[in-house]
Structure formats: structure tokens, C-alpha cells
Amino acid sequence: MKESSNLSFSEQSLQKVKEILSRYPQGKEKSALLPLLHMAEAEFGGWLSPEVMDYVATILNIQPIEVYEVATFYSMFNLKPTGKYVLEVCRTGPCCLRGAENLLDKIEEKLGIKVGETSADGLFTLKTVECLASCGTAPMMQVGDKYYENLNEENIETVLQSFRNN
């Protein structure tokens, strides 16, 4: 057994964890795994390190491998550190019909990085994702909680600039 780390959710988050656990029948607390992984990712630097996953395993009283199995299955979890802004550009058919591929080229050109890379200044990580149910406002990308829709090669520059200005 590995040494337990000193990681801990904030008091406020621990309250939230308690509330989440109460949503499921007794003995079925593993159901909280996905909600907790989302919380952990947000609280511990935007990615899931093995230590963070082990901490979540401790909370749910499950084996660490059960967390790794789940975290690696779902596409949302970052298993490596990312840039400050993770640009998730939709690459699926309906977005491509409206120019997603050109948009992606433009973003790569503007940021000087390829899909999967993080910019040298640590500001941007560029990812492609599958359909985000926003085909009516294609092409689009998600950054954090927010959808950026009806993008094109012109307005993407404004969007990127707005992140730089933040």
C-alpha cells in the first residue's frame, strides 16, 4: 500500500462530497466516482494525477485501480497537466460540413501548436473532441464551461485574444 498523501478537498468541497454521497443508496457510493473526479480535477490543478485519483479512491473506499480504469475510459479527464485554457474543438461530421477543419488549421496556425500540444507560454492546450451536441451552431469549441459557437476563421482570432487578455 502506498503512503497516503496529504491531499484534501477544501471544507466546502467536503460538504459537497457528503451531499453527493447522499444521492445514492447505502453501499452504492461508488456511483459518486464521476462527480468526484470532476470535482477533483477542478480543485487540484485541472488534471488527475495518480495521487489525486488515489485520494478519490480513499474517499469512496475502493481500490485505486477502479479509479484508474474509469478515469482512462472517459474522454473528459485530463491525465496530464494542461495549459490554462484547454480548447476543445469539435471535429465531428456536422461541424466539418461547416468548416471545422479550416477552423482547426487556423487555430493551429495562430497558436503555433498542433492538436494535442500545449503552447510554450502554458496558456493554451489544443484538443479535438467528438460531437458536443452543438451542430446547429457549428463550427464550435468548448473552453471550460463555455461553448463558443458559430466560429469562423475571422472571429476565432477575437476569441483567442480574449483569453490572452484575461
Partner: protein, 327 residues
């Protein structure tokens, strides 16, 4: 009890028996091959799709055929069910394609694989596969890793049957390996470097249908068909101590569980028996182990049923793992 007919042969079995187990009751060619199902592992099965069969009559009550082929390992029999296995061209065809799918990312490195000769995938391919692959794309590969002192994981060969995961879940106290990632990027692993250390971890080697998990104490020592399997036992505080020894002269090259004609161990054995007891004085040797002639293991030893069989049957059927001529 319910009556079912498989490939024209009637058999009576208990309710809640799977089609596969009903077929195993009959034996011979009516037994569908199974690469992921393992009767001793709860929840196993359904994944590899090699055991697909056709249900041409659902039951006596509702004789409608099932619309799709079903996994015989996870479909329960109904009274009056009529099942077609090797007598259905549709099944034979589907099985052929499953074999093709299983092989597209398999390295086909049998010449350097310790499992060769007792590999379920090799046997399955002989019995049901195409002689030539139509796959021209790149194959997925992984680095070999050691998971524990005595076990090597060669993920490139894995067919993702999940048996080793169920084994760790069900017969050891703490599972440290599992299935990571998804789709064809799925892999068996520990995620962070970790070792599988517990008294029963070695059983993952026995349940592995291919050469993905192998015994490092036996690595490259001997082709299995050149070794003599002997039943033996010892007094063991951890397991039954009933094993199969794989010998060359008086040397014990390898210790495994005793596998039945369906390739399943009769009992799981502990690591001490498997990895540490390699001297003949450790064991009471009972005598030669009867190996089903489903693989080439039986080719070169004293129980040479091979030639007799060759005279009477097509070679393909001799290699076929659905053949259960075990006595």
C-alpha cells in the same frame, strides 16, 4: 430440467444453464469455442463473440427463432430450444470473422511465444480462421512489462478477454491491475508502475487464453509440446496442492493448474506451488496427465493419440479446440 437440441443432439440440463454449458455436456464438435468465458469466473463471457450460435427455435412455448446470433456463454437455455452451432453456415461465417477481428491486432509471433502449442487463439485460428489476413493497416503494439517478479505482460498479444481481471477480483484480496483506456486502445495494466503481489496472482497466467501473461520462470525454457505433463500433488497450506508439472527428464520446468478439456483449471493454485516448488522431491507424482488432444501438446509425448487421430480425421478438426476427446 429442460430439454434442448444442439446440432441435432438432444440433451437434458438444469434450468438456468447456458447454451455453452449445455453443449459442453454433450461434448465434441457441438461445443462452441470460448475465448473469454471461464466457468469459474463470475461475470466472465459475452465479449469475444467466438461462441456465437444460432437459436432457430427459442423454446417450446415460443418457437420463434432469435433474430440475431447469440453468445452461447451468456444465453440461458429454454425448454425446447433448438440451437445450431457448427451446423449453421451463418455461425461458421460469423466465427470466421471474429477470428479475423481477433487477429488483426495480434502480432502472430507464435514462433517466439511461450504460449504456442497451448494457445486458444492459435487453436481457434486453425479451426476457424482464414489462411490469409486481409488486414493491411498498422497493428497496435505495446512494450512488454513485468507485473510482479514472476509474471510478464505482453499486451500486444492480449485479446482483452478480461479473465485476468476477474481472477484478480475474485480470488485475490486486492486487485491492482485492470482494463485501462477504451476501444482498441484498451489495455491491461496497473496504470502506475505496480506489481501484482499476492499468493494467487499466478493464476492470471493459467486463465490467459493467449501469450499475454506468461510465467517468467518458464520463459523460453522449452516448447510445451516437448515437455511431459504429470499430475502431482503436495501438502500445501494455501491451496489444494494439486497441480500439473511440466517436465523434461527429471527436471520440473513449469507448474500449472490442472486444465480440463475446455482449457479451464480444475482448481486455482498458489504462487508457492507454481513458482517455488521446482524440485521433484517437492511433489508426489501421480502419473502422466491426460491432455486433450486439442493442441499440439499431445503431439510428441507418450500418449501419442495424434497419429491414430490423424488417420481417421481431417487435420483441422484435430487442432480444433472444440474437440474434447479427453478421457
Amino acid at each position: 430440467m429442460v430439454k434442448v437440441t444442439i446440432d441435432g443432439i438432444e440433451v437434458e440440463v438444469e434450468e438456468n444453464t447456458t447454451i455453452l454449458n449445455a453443449a459442453r455436456r454433450i461434448g465434441g464438435d457441438v461445443v462452441p469455442p470460448a475465448m473469454c468465458y471461464y466457468s469459474k469466473l463470475k461475470g466472465s463471457g459475452g465479449k469475444c463473440r467466438t461462441c456465437l450460435v444460432k437459436v432457430s427455435q427459442g423454446s417450446a412455448k415460443d418457437p420463434r427463432p432469435m433474430p440475431k446470433l447469440v453468445a452461447s456463454c451468456s444465453t440461458m437455455v429454454q425448454d425446447g430450444m433448438v440451437i445450431l452451432n457448427s451446423t449453421s453456415p451463418e455461425v461458421v461465417d460469423a466465427r470466421k470473422s471474429v477470428v479475423e477481428f481477433l487477429l488483426i491486432n495480434h502480432p502472430l509471433d507464435c514462433p517466439v511465444c511461450d504460449q504456442a502449442g497451448e494457445c486458444d487463439l492459435q487453436n481457434l485460428t486453425y479451426a476457424h480462421g482464414l489462411s490469409k489476413s486481409r488486414y493491411e493497416e498498422e497493428r497496435r503494439t505495446f512494450e512488454k512489462i513485468d507485473i510482479g517478479e514472476h509474471i510478464q505482460l505482453h499486451m500486444t498479444r492480449c485479446i482483452l478477454c478480461y479473465r485476468c481481471v476477474y481472477t484478480a477480483d475474485q480470488i485475490t484480496d486486492k486487485r491492482v491491475h485492470g482494463v485501462l483506456n477504451r476501444g482498441d486502445a484498451s489495455e491491461i495494466g496497473t496504470y502506475i508502475k505496480n506489481v501484482i503481489e499476492n499468493d494467487f496472482s499466478g493464476n492470471v497466467i493459467d486463465v490467459c487464453p493467449v501469450g499475454a501473461l506468461t510465467d517468467k520462470t518458464f520463459r523460453f525454457k522449452q516448447r510445451v509440446w516437448f515437455s511431459k505433463p504429470m499430475d502431482a500433488h503436495r501438502n500445501c497450506s494455501k491451496c489444494s496442492g494439486k497441480v500439473a508439472l511440466w517436465m523434461k527428464g527429471n527436471d520440473i520446468l513449469r507448474v500449472t493448474g490442472r486444465k480440463n478439456s475446455f482449457g479451464e483449471v480444475e482448481e486455482f493454485i498458489c504462487n508457492e506451488c507454481r513458482f517455488e516448488k521446482k524440485k521433484t522431491e517437492d511433489w508426489t507424482i501421480e502419473g502422466p496427465r491426460h491432455i486433450s488432444n486439442h493442441s499440439v501438446i499431445s503431439q510428441n509425448h507418450y500418449e501419442n493419440t495424434f497419429k491414430a487421430k490423424l488417420a481417421s480425421r481431417q487435420p483441422k478438426e484435430i487442432y480444433g479446440n472444440k474437440d474434447s476427446a479427453e478421457k
